[in-house]
């Protein structure tokens, strides 16, 4: 379970990115966070990943305060969270296989497990044939599927998808959302931020709406209302 407890983030130039936000997310939940650009969606995710420190309040991950963790423990925390970004963020010099293997190596998995799991997870995202390609040889949708494969390969407790469909066409958007839904059905918590009304409305899952750093709505089976 993840718990944001009266969290505020004020940057040194006095801009308020997150203003006194409190909510919790259950394991197995599929939560979407919507809002205009600058509403504080990405800052919430960065706070959870301990990339940013809150000015006030606490962020708890399985009842540990993520900002009280040592540097080496932050690394361990991040292994429990799979990340998917709008700009894919694959390592350009590594093949599809190596990009995914890297996440497993970083987590200290043995070679046998890597050799078995990487092709398997690529089959799950339907990219089994592109295993030896480099990222620049893939389309946007394919890159995002590699990123999802990398995010799930260590069987994390949570997948954070920060506008994962922002750079994709409708067909690929649909595919990515379906993959995320499948992952959620298998029991992994998903936190999705998006601008895409169609995605939110088709999901029919919980939606938190952010505006100017404040949480203005929290609907159990929400729709995109801005």
């Amino acid at each position: 379970m993840i718990y944001f407890d009266k969290v505020s983030k004020i940057y040194p130039d006095n801009s308020v990115a997150v203003d006194n936000v409190t909510f919790s997310i259950e394991p197995n939940e599929f939560l979407s966070i919507v809002g205009h650009s600058g509403a504080g969606k990405t800052t919430l995710l960065k706070l959870l990943l301990a990339e940013e420190r809150p000015t006030q309040g606490k962020v708890l991950f399985e009842s540990t305060d993520v900002h009280a963790l040592k540097r080496s423990d932050v690394t361990k925390l991040r292994r429990k969270i799979g990340m998917v970004f709008q700009d894919f963020r694959l390592i350009p010099d590594k093949t599809v296989y190596e990009n995914i293997a890297f996440a497993m190596e970083a987590a200290g998995k043995v070679d046998e497990a890597i050799q078995a799991d990487v092709p398997h997870v690529l089959e799950l995202v339907d990219l089994g044939k592109k295993i030896w390609n480099f990222p620049h040889e893939l389309s946007g949708g394919e890159k995002q599927r590699v990123a999802i494969a990398r995010a799930i390969v260590n069987q994390p407790d949570v997948i954070i998808a920060d506008e994962p469909t922002g750079n994709l066409d409708p067909v690929n958007t649909y595919d990515i959302v379906q993959i995320l839904k499948r992952i959620n059905d298998l029991g992994t918590m998903i936190i999705l931020t998006t601008h895409n009304k169609g995605v939110i409305d088709s999901l029919g899952k919980r939606v938190i709406t952010m505006e100017g750093g404040k949480m203005v709505r929290d609907d159990k089976e929400g729709r995109y209302t801005l």
């Binding site: 990943l49 540097r71 080496s72 690394t75 361990k76 991040r78 292994r79 990340m83 963020r89 694959l90 390592i91 350009p92 010099d93 590594k94 190596e98 890297f102 996440a103 190596e105 970083a106 987590a107 200290g108 043995v110 070679d111 990398r150 260590n154």
Partner: protein, 308 residues
């Protein structure tokens, strides 16, 4: 686990090097310049050391005795000198040997030989050639000899002259010139060395700057600092190692080409022979500095992006 991690880091370092071929090549070439300067510093040091040593070797004291000096007394003085701790060697040149040497030296000069024949007696005195262990010790030996002179028996002094004081000024001046040339040379080389190390450092920093996003991604997927740094450090060491091998290869024809020139110019030091004889030193110094500069630059550059 450590072995697996080490293996992965090494592999990743090699792959990065190979896949970023052009970037790697330019880093290697920049590093060659740095290592070339470092190698040249060693050569320069050798040349100056050799010149100084040769020059110092030329410093000695010749004690010329009057022609009437009895051989036993000269040998007594020689024995006395041999007990001095500063003295490294003494050779005795008897009057007969001195004459023979003189004749040999002037064998093409008939007038001199004729003039010598005119004299019925051998005009040359015996001499002692003294070498000290350290150039600074000649002063003391010369002073000792002067006091011996005063103390010499039989009433009349047997020492004719000591040539140290005549040579001293010239030798001192030459030593000073070589010394300041060495210092100036090292100073210039040092500056050049520092500049090229800075250039290398910045080149590697640029190479890693290109990878800053990659470093960020690695951290986000949960890689430890060590695991992120490792491949870059391996890459940097690889730049250094390859650049070092190239530099060592370059010195081979270069020192061969310069060899005959330096032999005549620097009183007999053949750079090529010196290079071959001290190859292990060159290897250790150049490969060592290359690998070290590569590793340290990479480490510092990556750490910058890890701190964020």
């Amino acid at each position: 686990m450590f072995l697996t991690t080490a293996k992965r880091i090494l592999k990743s370092g090699f792959f990065n090097f190979w896949r970023n071929g052009f970037v790697s090549l330019s880093s290697v070439l920049i590093m060659v310049v740095t290592l070339f300067v470092i190698g040249s510093i060693i050569f320069l040091g050798a040349v100056f050391d050799f010149s100084l040593a040769t020059l110092r070797d030329k410093v000695d004291i010749n004690v010329y005795f009057v022609t009437s000096a009895p051989e036993e007394e000269i040998l007594t003085i020689k024995k006395g000198l041999e007990t001095l701790p500063e003295v490294s060697s003494i050779s005795y040149v008897s009057r007969e040997v001195a004459l023979a040497n003189f004749k040999e030296r002037h064998k093409d000069d008939e007038f001199t030989l004729q003039a010598l024949d005119e004299l019925e007696e051998n005009p040359l005195g015996a001499s002692l050639n003294i070498k000290a262990k350290e150039p600074s010790q000649y002063e003391g030996i010369a002073q000792y000899l002067q006091s011996e002179n005063i103390l010499s028996t039989a009433g009349t002094p047997i020492i004719d002259k000591i040539n140290y004081f005549q040579n001293k000024v010239a030798i001192d001046r030459l030593s000073k010139i070589v010394d300041s040339a060495t210092q100036l040379g090292f100073f210039l080389m040092l500056i050049l060395g520092i500049i090229s190390i800075l250039i290398t450092f910045n080149t590697i920093r640029l190479v890693i700057y290109i990878s800053r996003e990659e470093i960020n991604v690695m951290r986000l997927v949960g890689a430890s600092d060590f695991y992120v740094q490792g491949p870059f450090i391996v890459g940097g060491m690889l730049y250094g190692f390859i650049a070092a091998i190239l530099t060592l290869l370059m010195f081979y024809p270069l020192s061969f080409w310069l060899g005959s020139f330096t032999t005549s110019f620097f009183v007999g030091l053949n750079m090529f022979e010196y290079y071959l004889r001290h190859f292990l030193t060159f290897f250790a110094a150049i490969v060592g500095s290359g690998v070290l500069i590569g590793a340290v630059s990479s480490y510092l550059a990556v750490t910058r992006y890890l701190k964020k």
